[in-house]
């Protein structure tokens, strides 16, 4: 005899490599400290929804000494911007983020040199943040708007460029030996589920997700990536299934291809771990893809914990769960007899 609603918990860990695999990855960016103390960034690839525009603006603002809302990002155009390769492979923050940081530093070097000359101080003393520039250890200070104006009046346009490289090596074709990435991230998720033994339906009630991201440029954005990844993982774990019959799809639209809705969402509890990357200027790594790796196995492990059936073939539909429960009941009966 079994209660109708049974709960259980499961855990799964994961790892992932950052940026392109087993190859040399690269990206470029241009930066300009522009009129009005604003910043202009141009790079070849940006937003696909993950929030990289905002992350790049934060990085540029930090490096240029202005505010994120002062940054304009011109991008996405092979005829107008430097190559930054593709939007994928959990490479955006790592590759483009570091390129932008380097480009901004390059532009700042030129501006700082001029301002240092004006003030008669060492360039190394120049600091800037939030639209203001000053010389450390003095009361010399002006707005970035004034600084850019001054720099230009002295004949210098403060522009910079940057390129970042991640050194992966190819795999040996026979034994696979190689160093595919220079940065790795690790993750772990715990799932708590409730299984309805009448219908076979599984509700995921809680996910605790701990992920190393190197450095969270925008913690809320990192959470958003984790929450989105978890729910995609949940969809694959429980309901999504593209079905073919002799090459013809049986799941033409969203009436048949079932996606998670607002009623399927666990409470997602995120812990961000920041183990900085030593090989890049920012220390950030990434989170886009790794967020969903441990979700499905954590849920399957939780289902097993709850009702003692192991679903080894995704997705764990209500029908599969009930069939497994029936098979388990038969087995138990057999043992008892």
């Amino acid at each position: 005899m079994m209660q109708r609603k049974m709960r259980g918990r499961g855990v799964a860990a994961s790892w992932y490599g950052i940026a392109r695999t087993a190859t040399i990855d690269r990206a470029g960016a241009w930066a300009e400290l522009d009129d009005g103390g604003t910043g202009k960034i141009v790079t070849g690839v940006t937003e696909i929804g993950e929030g990289i525009l905002t992350v790049l603006a934060q990085i540029a603002a930090e490096e240029l000494g202005v505010r994120p809302e002062d940054i304009t990002i011109g991008d996405n155009d092979t005829a107008r911007s430097p190559e930054a390769a593709h939007a994928g492979a959990t490479r955006q923050t790592y590759m483009i983020g570091n390129s932008v940081a380097l480009a901004c530093r390059d532009a700042r070097t030129k501006l700082d040199a001029e301002i240092a000359k004006v003030w008669g101080v060492e360039t190394e003393t120049i600091r800037a943040f939030n639209g203001e520039i000053w010389s450390e250890g003095s009361n010399l200070r002006m707005s970035m708007e004034e600084a850019v104006d001054l720099c230009k009046k002295r004949g210098i346009v403060p522009v910079g460029s940057g390129a970042f490289t991640a050194h992966g090596t190819g795999l040996d074709p026979v034994n696979g030996t190689g160093s595919p990435w220079q940065a790795y991230v690790f993750g772990c998720q715990v799932a708590e589920v409730e299984v309805d033994t009448v219908t076979g339906e599984v509700q995921v009630l809680g996910i605790w997700a701990a992920h190393d991201v190197g450095r969270a440029i925008n913690p809320r954005g990192v959470e958003g990536q984790i929450e989105g990844g978890v729910v995609q993982g949940l969809g694959q774990a429980l309901m999504e299934d593209y079905q073919l019959d002799k090459g013809h799809t049986k799941t033409h639209g969203f009436a048949k291809y079932i996606l998670p809705t607002s009623l399927d969402i666990p409470q997602i509890n995120t812990t961000i771990i920041e183990d900085r990357d030593p090989k890049s200027p920012l220390g950030a790594k990434g989170i886009g893809e790794p967020a969903l790796v441990p979700t499905a196995p954590a849920i399957m492990n939780a289902i097993y914990d709850a009702v003692g059936v192991r679903i080894k073939s995704l997705p764990a539909t209500p029908e599969k769960i009930l069939a497994a429960l029936a098979e388990r009941a038969m087995r138990t009966k057999g043992v008892a007899a």
Partner: protein
């Protein structure tokens, strides 16, 4: 056809128009009035990107013939915050919490949230979730959306200060700060134009003829009748490709349109550019294609058998890519083991289901530059490939990445951009193509399904001595990202564990199924699903806590990976500790279920029982008691 005479009030303005009788309210808003804040995600009422108010009630405008809206008051996303006006509390809350990611579902989601709070300003979170139940979001995992709606509710009700909608203070660094998304205002207001929202003067509309067969030889394609149809500007087939036809991320095995052979159902065979979509569709029906059906193969293991139908001449075994990884001596490792556990795992084909279906707009500019605007995740590579395909110098090919309404790897392949470029070149006019949801599902790549055979040897203390891992993946009809997916799956297959002896093989195989391609995790989730399930089975057999078996095997600083790379610092231990602590995990072997003491605590939600709106009285009573 008799046009409808329509009069309605849209966002407070009187509109009087004639419209074709078959239009949906969605078409009328988007195509006739150019109000593109309302999106089309599925056309079948299943996603909610098209939600609008009609006489105060929220409906899905893709399910409403425009005639039904005649005489009605319509409110769209553009009407919530009039141009130049302040965003509403709901919109500002979405901005504050980061509730928009790709943004494509967001106009509809904002409308649904607005409706929820209009219907019940005191709605609890369960009722809010129910009222958002018709709107799919593929990016956010809904969590930040729920948070936003609750904040908006409380601000509107005066329970929470409007300051809650303001940005966090900067502190002394913008790094590590929750800077609000810069693109959110354009998304929550419906102002952002995706490729399918863009129009150009003199623009043509493309429709694509697709293969009804999984494997067939094309004997003849006769486009003459289609070409002769008034309103048709051009019809294109593989014969129109001027250069070296073929694209793909690792191997360029896929022609822009089927070249002599179709290899999967839904493969593009020909395309028409016409003055409007209906004419283009009619022209498709006039294209005559004669096929000789060929034997087809649908199972990757069958495809590797001798005598199986061969899809591509360069791969006579149908193996797209085999990645082997060898470390140590697995036979010796298994000999040393106290316990050997073998099992078999399967994962399914998964659709990316970004809410924005594929769309693009191509034109040839005044300097003869062939320009393609599309939500491409890889404009750099697309430019390279297209230049060869259309035989142009690389600086005469330009790719512009339009806002991407969700990608997840699914928009890395140059599936349709080549057709747009060819049609723009042939017609000399801008050409737009917008996929239907069904077209997107049938013709674009999926997550690779996997069949994984697993053998693990362990000592009684839980230490893994050896793993033998074999994964066979159906790559479908074209190579796309299969090679890379097999590589990443192989490298990461055995997880963050220090295992002295491994033998890993991942094999991607051609079949006549819908192609598999890049999808968030690129093979890693399939492989690690097996590893992490398998570890739990072993933990139970050894009576070990699942965290403990992972700790006993995890990589340490300086570990040597399965590909024999030496790592620096390794954070898996910290990560395991964090998850264990945060979840208040009670240690013990798997299979304890209801006897655990750590269930149902903070960090979990209540199970969903539909009908939250019937129970406000109950909730109120409970509140008063508390």
């Amino acid at each position: 056809m008799s046009d409808l005479e329509l009069e309605m009030h849209i966002n407070g303005r009187a509109v009087k128009r004639r419209a074709a009788p078959h239009l949906r309210l969605l078409d009328f808003l988007r195509d006739d009035l150019n109000m593109t804040g309302t999106k089309e995600g599925c056309g079948a009422g299943e996603c909610g990107t098209c939600s609008v108010f009609v006489d105060g009630k929220l409906v899905k405008s893709c399910l409403m013939p425009v005639g039904k809206a005649n005489g009605a008051r319509i409110e769209t996303i553009e009407g919530l915050a009039p141009k130049g006006g302040d965003l509403t509390e709901v919109q500002r809350a979405f901005h504050k919490t980061g509730a928009s990611q790709c943004g494509y579902c967001i106009p509809g989601m904002v409308m649904a949230a607005t409706s929820a709070l209009r219907e019940n300003p005191d709605a609890g979170i369960e009722e809010i979730k129910e009222r958002l139940g018709g709107n799919i979001c593929r990016c956010t995992g809904y969590t930040k959306i729920f948070e936003a709606v609750e904040i908006a509710r409380d601000v509107i009700a005066g329970r929470l200060s409007a300051a809650a909608l303001e940005p966090d203070p900067a502190g002394n660094s913008f790094i590590g700060n929750n800077v609000r998304r810069l693109d959110a205002p354009s998304k929550v207001s419906g102002r952002l134009r995706y490729a399918g929202d863009m129009v150009m003067p003199d623009m043509l509309h493309m429709q694509v003829l697709r293969s009804p067969h999984p494997h067939a030889r094309i004997r003849v394609i006769d486009v003459s009748a289609a070409h002769a149809l008034p309103g048709v500007a051009c019809v294109i087939t593989a014969a129109d490709v001027p250069g070296e036809d073929g694209f793909g991320v690792f191997v360029h095995d896929q022609p822009i349109m089927a070249r002599g052979i179709v290899r999967y159902v839904g493969e593009a065979v020909a395309a028409v550019a016409a003055e409007d979509v209906l004419t283009a569709k009619e022209a498709l029906r006039l294209i005559k294609v004669e096929y000789d059906e060929l034997p087809a193969v649908f199972d990757p293991e069958d495809a590797m058998k001798i005598g199986a139908p061969v899809l591509h001449d360069y791969a006579p075994t149908n193996i797209t890519k085999h990645i082997p990884i060898r470390k140590g001596d697995v036979e010796q490792g298994f000999a040393e083991a106290d316990l050997i556990v073998e099992d078999y795992y399967e994962t399914q084909q998964v659709e990316h289901a970004y809410l924005e279906p594929e769309a693009g707009l191509a034109y040839v500019d005044h300097d003869d530059v062939v320009t393609v605007i599309s939500p491409s995740q890889n404009i750099t590579h697309h430019r390279h490939m297209l230049a060869k395909i259309i035989d142009k110098p690389i600086n005469k090919v330009r790719f512009i990445m339009s806002p991407v309404g969700g990608g997840f790897g699914g928009k890395e392949d140059m599936i349709y951009q080549g057709m747009l470029a060819l049609a723009a070149m042939k017609s000399g006019r801008p050409v737009r193509l917008v996929y239907t949801r069904e077209e997107s599902i049938i013709s674009t790549a999926k997550r690779h399904p996997a069949r994984i055979t697993y053998k693990m040897g362990l000592k009684n203390d839980g230490r893994i001595t050896a793993v033998e891992f074999k994964m066979i993946s159906d790559g479908g009809a074209y190579g796309m990202s299969t090679e890379g997916v097999m590589r990443k799956a192989a490298i990461l297959a055995c997880g963050p564990y220090d295992i002295p002896n491994v033998k890993i093989d991942t094999i991607g195989v051609y079949t006549n199924n819908t192609p598999s391609g890049a999808f968030r995790t690129f093979g890693a989730m399939q492989a690690q699903f097996a590893t992490e399930s398998h570890l739990d089975i072993c933990a139970e057999k050894l009576g070990l806590d699942p965290f403990e078996i992972r700790r006993r095997n995890m990589m340490q600083d300086g570990a040597i990976t399965h590909t024999q790379q030496t790592l620096g610092k390794v954070s898996i231990g910290t990560v395991l500790d964090a998850a264990e602590t945060a979840s208040h995990w009670e240690a013990g072997a798997p299979g304890r279920g209801e006897s655990r003491s750590d269930l149902g605590g903070e960090g979990t939600r209540a199970p969903c029982t539909l009908g939250a709106r019937f129970a406000p009285a109950v909730a109120k009573v409970k509140k008063e008691v508390a």
